[in-house]
Assembly symmetry: none
Homo-oligomer: 408 residues x 2
């Protein structure tokens, strides 16, 4: 069903949905640990109790065999087709660095590079200069170049040679080429419009001027004397969760990228959380307020999976498990516990494995599973079966009584 149709079904009511996303929760069998997954190797009695009471199954984030980035995984969780609504690399980079973006922004990511006097790129990463060095250079550029043709330029340093930024103006377009030659020994490309729209040629001119001015400014730097810009992306044209689902959603997260993704789909963003405990405390404080959708994002499981730290991820799951009763003490109408993708320690990165999903409902009891534990294999026997991740939110809406009947 399309978002347009969901819009016609959704109803505003008093029910509250808590949507707990344990990033990278799903795992895969690890040969060094009796071929168990992290969920199988950990003790998590509270999650198991949820599993016994909830509608359980597995969710495929984007499609079978497809490993999602955090953007597509989260869009799918929030009910958006992650193939139709792709969030550009530039935007994710900008959000990841904690910058706020507006609908007038053209986001991008950049590298410092080394170029010869003859204009040949000899190092696309400027010898991987330190983050401190990048910070100094970004300040230097930002202090000298604040705008070009009334287009405001806002930059932020990242790790090592990386940075990101936005061009801010109502007439910008993402339909321009990049200047990164992608191979050393080549000249940087000139930024050019891809279409013959006025906005595209205006944007290409501004960006090219910015690159030239920056090169002039950096010409005496020993390594980082040039910039390569990629991933130009406009603010995505995504209908908000208010528009589609009539929800009043709020996001509780530690990391900027997840706050940014939530902001794009219309959530109010809560700042000031540093730990998982902070997040649960914040959830409790906000529970009496007029929100009806609480997105809570837990990052650590994903990081430990990416590090290949099986035992660390097992311990983190056990730690999170102890916080579940605190969420249940709020007596949410619907509690969803799932992940945006799997991050098995054995593969040390995001993976395509379907993630466990539990939809627990207070008002309308969910059908009985024969599921005893909160693990991938047990959830494959759940009555929900294996579904696409975009189906989770509509089910949560239905159990919260927030969907009207379709057709007479």
């Amino acid at each position: 069903m399309s978002l347009e149709l969901f819009k016609t079904l959704s109803i505003k009511n008093e029910s509250k949905i808590v949507f707990l996303v344990i990033d990278g929760l799903g795992g895969a069998p690890h040969g060094q640990y009796e071929y168990k997954t992290e969920l199988e190797a950990s003790q998590h009695p509270n999650l198991d109790q949820i599993a016994k009471e909830a509608l359980c199954g597995l969710a495929v984030p984007v499609d079978y065999g497809v490993t999602p980035g955090s953007g597509p995984g989260h869009l799918a969780l929030f009910g958006y087709d992650p193939v139709k609504y792709l969030i550009g690399r530039g935007i994710l980079e900008v959000l990841g660095l904690g910058m706020k973006i507006t609908p007038n922004d053209l986001s991008f990511r950049g590298n410092f590079a080394t170029i010869t006097k003859d204009g040949i790129v000899v190092d696309r990463r400027a010898g991987r200069i330190s983050s401190e060095e990048t910070k100094r250079l970004i300040e230097k550029i930002q202090n000298n170049i604040k705008q070009i043709n009334n287009v405001e330029i806002i930059l932020k340093p990242g790790k090592e040679h990386r940075f990101a930024g936005v061009f801010r103006h109502p007439d910008l377009s993402e339909e321009i080429t990049e200047n990164d030659p992608h191979k050393e020994g080549n000249r940087p490309h000139k930024i050019q419009p891809i279409t013959d729209s006025k906005k595209a040629s205006f944007t290409a001119e501004v960006v090219e001027t910015f690159i030239e001015k920056t090169a002039e400014l950096l010409k005496d730097e020993p390594k980082a004397n040039y910039i390569l810009l990629r991933g130009f992306s406009k603010y995505p044209n995504i209908p908000t969760m208010q528009q589609i689902y009539k929800l009043t959603p709020v996001a509780i997260a530690v990391y900027p990228m997840y706050k940014g993704l939530a902001q794009i789909v219309g959530m109010e963003i809560i700042d000031g959380c540093e730990t998982i405990k902070d997040e649960i405390e914040k959830l409790k404080q906000l529970y009496e307020k007029d929100y009806d959708f609480y997105y809570v994002h837990i990052k650590d499981t994903d990081k430990l999976g990416e590090d290949g730290n099986f035992e660390g991820k097992v311990k983190k799951i056990e730690e999170i498990d102890k916080l579940i009763p605190e969420i249940l003490s709020l007596s949410p109408d619907v509690l969803v516990i799932t992940a945006d993708h799997s991050t098995p320690s054995v593969t040390k990165g995001h993976s395509w494995h379907p993630v466990p999903v539990a939809i627990w409902s207070k008002k309308v009891p969910t059908p009985k599973n024969n599921v005893k534990r909160f693990t991938e294999e047990e959830f494959s026997k759940g009555i929900l079966g294996t579904i696409y991740m975009t189906k989770i939110l509509p089910l949560a809406m239905a159990y919260a009584g927030k969907f009207d009947k379709y057709g007479a």
Copy 2:
């Protein structure tokens, strides 16, 4: 696969499919009955025997979390995408009152209302006048206004202040606005064309004239002195089951709406059934005739679910179970037993829960399930898995040998 492709696959043969739709059969756990569903709480040895022998699974009527009306549920059962083919409110109302419709008809539903001398709607339901009163008023209108500009007008009274009707003429359009102001204290809207097609402006003119003439006729009625018309809908442009599946289908149902839905997809309609027993008798009588698809609709389970009558629905399931051997005695090539949607007594209405589906086949034995009982949870373990409802009919076609190979 699209209906156009199914059309190229379907073959006419001697096999007969009996398609038993037990309306609202699926349930949900009920807290007052040990968290059992109606199917779990009832004894139905014949359905259980079918479950052991059939291809079993669960069917999602429209989409996850979406509660279907009877229209979308039935279209999905008959193999039509219920999002692509939506049947208008006016048509369902007209069919529900037992009127026959033709491709020239513009259907609508109406209310009697109370309007002041100054033209303000003060009661959109005319004080909920009795059904008898509505019957009298409809006769009065019908006796005085039979046609306008050669457009025939046929009306039928409904319950309380409600009625329905059709405008009959080849040049009508559903692209017109409604006159219901939706809020008391407002003037009724004028009927206007939505597009600039000739048909739309002709239709708007005829409907507006009808409303004015009726108002003139009713001006001395104490309460019901105006009519509000909504849900204008043309006969849907749906290819028939004969065209797509080369079937010769027949519908055995008690209630008019289901006969109407069946008529729209090309089924022959059998009248004269008052009870489930009548329907099974009729099935037996017709079984030797040249039909090859027998749609049998049982309504009572849905009504009892809507009333929240758990025990009544349990007893009704047990009663229906006793009739299964009579159907099997006909030795159908394929017997499908399913529902158009769930109607859990606990939610007292249609719901989004997937419905059990059993496809029993005589000629080609179905794969062995490990399913022991005809219940939602058992069926979630069936070898068919959870499918979209539109997939049921193609499977029945396949087991009946009515689908050719696709591609060489």
